[in-house]
């Protein structure tokens, strides 16, 4: 069955990583970029070839390579699989990945550690592809942890910056918390079903009755969702993603917008069968998604760092995807993954282009009026803008519409909250656009347009953002995997959500184009609330105060200094002191005086004689 050589898809970037990682230091930059880009393009080409060869993919195509772990009942193979869900993800990952690799050639050209950057990026591709192609939970987990590692490496790419190191560590550790849930879910699955293969597990789950009372399936589903929440930055584990913007911008685009962060959504969709058996878990997923969407959107309204705005936007959009999963519209969730990958990658890359043009400036307050100075960048960013704002008929409109409809079908209040969030989304993206491109220039640098290697990929993404939603009918394609919920298209609902987007844009135009003094007035009026939102609800501070600091202080003060050094070692050394005292007493006997020894020997003789007497009956 291994006729498609699926292994080549992840193996090519891995080869790129090995070559660049080991020898890249001695290569000229051009060679490094050729190797890196070629490996990802090759992978993309192989995906296209494979999908062409596999045809309509009604059933998953599985290839088994070797047994990875075999121990008693635990049997885990290195199996790769392609079904329609994977196919969608593969195309997104390799396609967008290729574009971003090309873009990075331009973006990173002046940076130190060029080869290192591309090696990490290729490694990321390898793990991401493993993640989407793995045919069992453990292989998924390998990719899962692997992308976390690459995220760590790339966030901390600017090793001299302390904030980058902190952000990288935070990302990894928070992800680890999520992985903790994921791994526990995996162990439970193994215990319950005796296998981690998707096929076997899902076959075993399908006939089970839907779990109305909380039970083992709910536990598994919730634990899986903890993992997903960690990777996909959901409340309460979203805190790492905004900080992750410390990494180079192509990384933000590829990992923290388009691909890695959607792995949680992919995993939820992959384990849809399990989730569907637990209404409670589904409710939790939807609710968490909703809270995340609203919370992140409100924070996004107030930020000034262009990448932070987009980062909170990403968190918010991920919340949308989980709403979709939670209400049972998994295909809508994946649809949004795809369109979001287009426009959010574009937003980040465009932002990168702006930052590049301004030699590293990220603060919106120091931009303005750039539309004329960097017109190409402005043009492509405008495409992303309309796409994310949900303006029909562009990409975001279709997927957001699907989600909102499904939410309405599930619970109307979710729909309304979603609509408000959509309005906020439109508002803050417009705000960023207006502050950046309109008005007068407020910065000091001399903006210059990006080279072709950078805007070329942007153009492709722009086209995708505009037409992708209409052209790729993802939910239809995914029907064999996720039967589409019977939904009646209520036209009014669509109009309302579009209206929300338009109102959001209009408000932004009012506040930042027509009456520039208005935002300050409003924020002044809101006072404490504005402060709360501007400081991201003080979530980081709360985490520091309640978890991080007590843990470190407790470990240092109580466990180490008092318990380890004090009590345990105290007991040990106390024993030594007792032994020494007793020994000191006994030492007096060892006077070194031979005659005292002789006296003892005599005494010994008496004792022996006594014993002899008693034993022989001599002494009665």
């Amino acid at each position: 069955m291994n006729d498609q050589q699926l292994w080549l898809i992840p193996a090519l970037p891995l080869a790129g990583f090995l070559i660049n990682g080991l020898f890249g230091k001695k290569f000229p930059n051009i060679l490094v970029s050729i190797i890196a880009v070629a490996s990802v393009l090759g992978s993309f080409a192989w995906v296209l070839k494979t999908l062409g060869a596999l045809g309509d993919l009604e059933h998953a195509h599985v290839e088994h390579y070797l047994t990875w772990i075999q121990s008693g009942p635990v049997n885990i193979g290195v199996d790769l699989a392609v079904d329609r869900l994977t196919a969608v993800m593969l195309l997104v990952v390799t396609g967008i990945g290729s574009l971003i690799h090309i873009y990075a050639v331009g973006y990173m050209s002046h940076e130190g550690g060029y080869y290192r950057f591309f090696a990490y990026l290729n490694l990321f591709m390898f793990f991401m592809l493993t993640l989407v192609m793995g045919a069992n939970f453990l292989l998924l987990f390998v990719g899962w942890e692997g992308v976390g590692l690459c995220s760590y490496l790339l966030i901390g790419f600017y090793i001299l910056k302390k904030s980058a190191g902190d952000a990288a560590k935070k990302a990894f550790v928070v992800n680890r918390v999520g992985d903790f849930g994921f791994s526990l879910a995996m162990f439970l699955i193994m215990v319950q079903f005796g296998s981690l293969d998707f096929q076997k597990v899902f076959e075993a789950v399908k006939p089970l009755p839907v779990d109305q009372t909380p039970g083992i399936l709910t536990a598994i589903a919730l634990l899986l969702f903890v993992g997903a929440a960690g990777k996909s930055a959901q409340v309460p584990l979203y805190v790492w993603l905004p900080d992750a913007m410390e990494g180079p911008t192509p990384v933000s685009a590829l990992i923290h917008a388009a691909t890695m962060v959607t792995a949680g959504v992919y995993m939820t969709a992959r384990a849809a069968v399990i989730f569907q058996h637990s209404p409670l878990a589904m409710d939790v997923v939807a609710t968490v998604g909703l809270i995340t969407a609203v919370m992140a959107a409100t924070i996004g309204l107030t930020q000034y760092d262009i990448k932070k705005v987009f980062a909170y936007s990403t968190v918010s959009q991920l919340g949308y995807m989980f709403i979709a999963c939670g209400v049972g519209a998994f295909s809508a969730g994946i649809y949004h993954v795809v369109t979001h990958a287009f426009f959010k990658a574009l937003l980040f890359l465009g932002a990168g282009s702006v930052i590049h043009a301004l030699s590293g400036e990220q603060d919106l307050r120091h931009m303005g009026g750039l539309a004329k100075k960097i017109p190409i960048t402005f043009a492509v960013l405008a495409c992303a803008w309309v796409a994310i704002a949900g303006v029909p008929p562009f990409a975001g409109f279709f997927s957001k519409d699907e989600i909102l409809l499904a939410a309405h079908h599930h619970a109307p209040w979710m729909y309304w909250v979603g609509v408000i969030t959509a309005g906020m989304t439109a508002f803050y993206v417009s705000r960023a656009m207006f502050m950046c491109f309109f008005g007068s220039y407020r910065g000091h640098h001399h903006p210059h347009e990006s080279p072709f290697v950078m805007w070329g990929p942007l153009a492709v993404l722009a086209v995708l953002s505009l037409a992708g939603g209409w052209y790729f009918k993802v939910p239809h394609y995914l029907e064999p995997v996720f039967p589409v919920a019977e939904g009646h298209h209520d036209e009014t609902l669509v109009y309302i959500s579009v209206a929300a987007g338009v109102i959001g844009i209009g408000l932004a135009a009012l506040m930042y184009l027509i009456k520039p003094g208005l935002p300050d007035t409003i924020s002044g009026a809101l006072g404490p609330i504005y402060k709360l939102v501007y400081n991201k609800y003080f979530v980081d501070e709360v985490y520091d105060a309640t978890i991080v600091n007590p843990m470190v202080a407790g470990s240092r003060g109580v466990l180490w200094r008092i318990f380890d050094a004090g009590i345990i070692d105290g007991i040990v050394n106390g024993t030594a002191v007792v032994a020494r005292t007793v020994g000191g007493g006994l030492r007096l006997l060892q006077s070194g005086n031979i005659r005292s020894y002789a006296a003892w020997v005599t005494l010994g003789c008496v004792v022996v004689l006594l014993a002899l007497g008693v034993m022989s009956g001599g002494v009665k």
Binding site: S591, G592, N593, I594, R595, A598, A599, T602
Partner: protein, 103 residues
């Protein structure tokens, strides 16, 4: 008065002599006297050997005390040589003062 004594008297004599030897070893300071006390103990033991030899009508006891004698001779030779050396180095015969191994 009986013309003979029981064998046990010999053994008790041997014990008394041995005890005297121990006493000399314990309470005397002069290294030569200590050494002679040891010889006394050896003699006491020899007496025991020969008494038992008489009891069992076996000559082996004699052989044993013969060997003891040989060893005693060898010991005396080496021991006295050591005493000579110690005296040469330290000009004392009091064993309590020969304590450089202590501490």
């Amino acid at each position: 008065m009986p013309t003979t004594v029981p064998l046990t008297w010999y053994l008790i004599l041997s014990a008394i002599l041995f005890g005297l030897g121990v006493a000399g070893f314990l309470f005397r300071r002069n290294i030569i006297t200590v050494f002679m006390s040891i010889e006394l103990m050896l003699n006491a033991v020899n007496l025991s050997f020969i008494s038992f030899s008489y009891k069992w009508r076996q000559v082996d006891g004699h052989i044993f005390s013969f060997f003891v004698m040989v060893v005693a001779a060898a010991e005396a030779a080496v021991g006295l040589a050591i005493i000579l050396t110690v005296f040469k180095n330290r000009s004392t015969l009091a064993i309590d003062e020969v304590n450089s191994l202590k501490n």
